[in-house]
């Protein structure tokens, strides 16, 4: 089954540094999305990248997608303590109403 798997599982950095998280999946997808989850809270949508896109930016976020390698990366530049959270990639087949398949997530800790 299609499945996003992030690495690293945990990442600790200092404020101002960049954080890079990677996601791999197994089957063909139509979209890949990144979500953030603060401890014990809900999922906040960050960015969606379609299978025909290679790179997308949103503020301090940069997402890349390599469909030939079935992988994506999320780069957070100039990190802040408020970026401390778990980050998940989720894949889908593109039709509304289909399931998102989540990876296990990367726990990012940004210290000041």
């Amino acid at each position: 089954s299609q499945q996003g798997e992030e690495d690293p599982q945990a990442l600790s950095i200092q404020e101002g540094e960049n954080a890079t998280m990677n996601c791999s999946y197994k089957t063909s997808i139509n979209n890949l999305q990144w979500y953030r989850q603060n401890s014990g809270r809900g999922l906040v949508h960050l960015i969606l990248i379609r299978s025909n896109e290679r790179e997308k930016h949103s503020g301090r976020l940069r997402v890349t997608l390599d469909t030939s390698k079935k992988s994506s990366s999320l780069l957070i530049t100039a990190s802040r303590a408020a970026d401390t959270a778990s980050y998940f990639c989720a894949t889908d087949m593109g039709q509304a109403g289909t399931a998102l398949i989540f990876g296990k997530g990367t726990t990012l800790s940004v210290s000041s």
Partner: protein
Amino acid sequence: EPEVTQTPSHQVTQMGQEVILRCVPISNHLYFYWYRQILGQKVEFLVSFYNNEISEKSEIFDDQFSVERPDGSNFTLKIRSTKLEDSAMYFCASNGLAAQETQYFGPGTRLLVL
């Protein structure tokens, strides 16, 4: 900005009891979903709902689970006879037409089964 809301935020119940988790999706959305996240684990899909019927469900969504849209705004998940392993955070999500594949999630209901 419109958002998905869920009630209650926390629920504690005894094993074998029925629980109903409630969600109000974003008002112009047509597709509704339930997911769950057992503590420390990944988010898992349970069910999707469109046009008053289930469009997709996972293996987790067995006969103990049911969903309903009782009126024009609420979307509910019922667990008929809760088990200890049902303890998890339950998330509702919604999205619109095919051009809007982003699923927007609610804050979740933390269910604890004792």
